[in-house]
């Protein structure tokens, strides 16, 4: 945000100078038609920063109501799978650069997300968090712009309605709870996990070149991996948590996040 404002103010200054060195490229943000010689100050925005999240169930592509087996051998089917990501930051190229709208709601059935703009150039790594940053997490959802993933105008937004804030991760579906693990997946599982302690800060080392034809970053989320370590039985505490009412199960799921989210 600060960087982008800095870029825009540089551009403003550039456009008002006369008869001096400056940026002489007409395609640059700070093109100065009065500049005589190029001084290497040209800055450009990449258009169309796109993130593609390939959602998976292990090796298979994600689909609702598709049978899959957890690490403990239980058959499951997902009916709802979405999470908040926040704080996208790109390192390198004179940065770090924070995206103007830092919040994203990723749904397992949607792959492609328009993330706005990134200054042109080479980046070495990027970071984001699974979950919502703590400042936003305690803000009033009605105060976010209508286009924000956190706004209560957004029909998909997930919030508990009180101060623990947003529900970061929503995993819902059905599971086979039979002792012999040979039945139908028909008992509900529900993971609604949030609170500041369950935000997971992630870092990815990847060379990215943002050009003026756009840049795409390909990621993967393995929703099956998120259920690693669970053994969901007829005991509802093994398959249902709203975080405050079942902290251990919430923590168990969150432990899988840094392995479940990765580069494609």
């Amino acid at each position: 945000m600060i960087r982008l404002l800095l870029l825009l103010s540089i551009a403003a200054i550039g456009l008002t100078s006369c008869n001096s060195d400056g940026c002489i490229d007409p395609t640059a943000l700070n093109y100065d038609p009065n500049a005589k010689d190029d001084d290497g100050s040209c800055v450009y925005l990449a258009e169309n920063l796109t993130f593609v999240f390939h959602s998976k169930l292990g090796n298979a592509d994600f689909a609702f109501n598709e049978e899959a087996f957890t690490s403990s051998g239980r058959k499951i089917k997902y009916t709802r799978a979405q999470m908040y990501l926040s704080g996208f930051r790109f390192n390198g190229n004179g940065g770090p650069y924070d995206l103007l709208d830092p919040h994203l709601l990723v749904k397992a059935t949607e792959q492609t997300y328009d993330m706005g703009y990134l200054p042109l150039g080479d980046y070495s790594s990027f970071t984001f968090s699974a979950g919502v940053d703590s400042v936003s997490n305690h803000a009033d959802p009605a105060t976010f712009a209508g286009t924000s993933a956190l706004s209560s105008n957004n029909p998909d937004h997930m919030h508990w309605g009180w101060d623990p804030g947003y529900i970061f991760y929503v995993l819902e579906g059905v599971v086979d709870t039979s002792a012999a693990m040979n039945g139908e997946a028909n008992a509900p599982f529900i993971f609604h996990v949030g609170t500041d302690m369950h935000r997971v800060d992630l870092a990815f080392v990847k060379a990215i070149y943002a050009s003026n034809t756009g840049v795409t970053v390909e990621m993967e989320i393995d929703w099956l991996k998120l259920l690693d370590g669970t053994n969901m039985t007829s005991d509802v505490t093994t398959r249902s948590t709203h975080t405050a009412n079942n902290p251990p199960l919430a923590a168990l799921m969150v432990e899988n996040i840094d392995e479940a989210i990765g580069l494609h």
């Binding site: 009033d140 959802p141 009605a142 105060t143 209508g146 706004s151 209560s152 105008n153 957004n154 029909p155 919030h159 309605g161 009180w162 101060d163 623990p164 405050a244 009412n245 902290p247």
Partner: protein, 330 residues
Amino acid sequence: MVLWGAFLFIGCQKDPEVPYQLAVPEWFPDMEIPSDNELTQARIDLGRKLFYEPLLSLDSSISCGSCHLQEKAFTDGLPISIGVEGADGLRNAPTLANIGLAPYFFHDGGVQTLELQSQQPIFSVEEMRFSIAGFLDRIENDAEYKNMFMEAYGRAPDAFGISRAIASFERTLISGNSRFDQYEYQGESDVFSDAEKRGRDLFFSDQTKCSTCHYPPLFTNYEFENVGLYQNYADSGRARISHLSGDNGKFKVPTLRNIELTAPYMHNGSLQSLEAVVDHFNSGGVAHPNQSESVVPLQLTEQQKADLVAFLKTLTDITFITEQDISDPN
């Protein structure tokens, strides 16, 4: 003559941006109003319309006013409130009398602002089970709403306007004209019977310590207390927010204003009458480890119990429950 007439005409026009003057009794604390939601008549009018608007619920059957009925001092007379399609709620609907003076909301204090609280029941599965986006679709062609939002907040209908307007209306829900107020703050000593005077003195005595937590003028200290209802609480109360075992079974100290009208009592409506409540406190509770130090056996006589109940009934404010400006306009 013509100029004088013109001046009069200008003076009589209602200016919707003129700040609204809240009528708070002088013996009440000042009400803090957030700077992004100053009170105006336009905001209050919109908030009142939304407070009583059933289109905010999934099947258009329930508004805020369905669980917060003016004639019951903005409660609903049920142990646990009921949501759309007969959904079981979680807790007893608390009164909204003087809610603008509270530092937090819900029985567990989980929300710090009225503006945030007003959104929660809309989304809650057990309550209105709907969404702001869905409501905005329903009023897409409603010129009256569009005008009201524009006049109140200078914007098209959205979550910000909805939450701020409802909060503004709720700030006008002021109850400070009970017989207790007349007796205690306005020197009208003949409005109390002898039983009520005895009950008042007992309420403020060291023997009962009622006023330790329920002290005037608001009859709450806004702390969280465990009053020893159960050995094992199904609803952990404040612990749900703080995750501290020492908060298990603690709930907000409710105001006692209009308590005659807001049965049944406790976070889960488990006590049906004021007599049952007095009996509970007289018994000293079940000695839960987190129980308040003030909740101990009181050894009240039958006369004393009756006097206490008589006193509690003096906290009823008839003007509050009949005031037209805060009633259901539908």
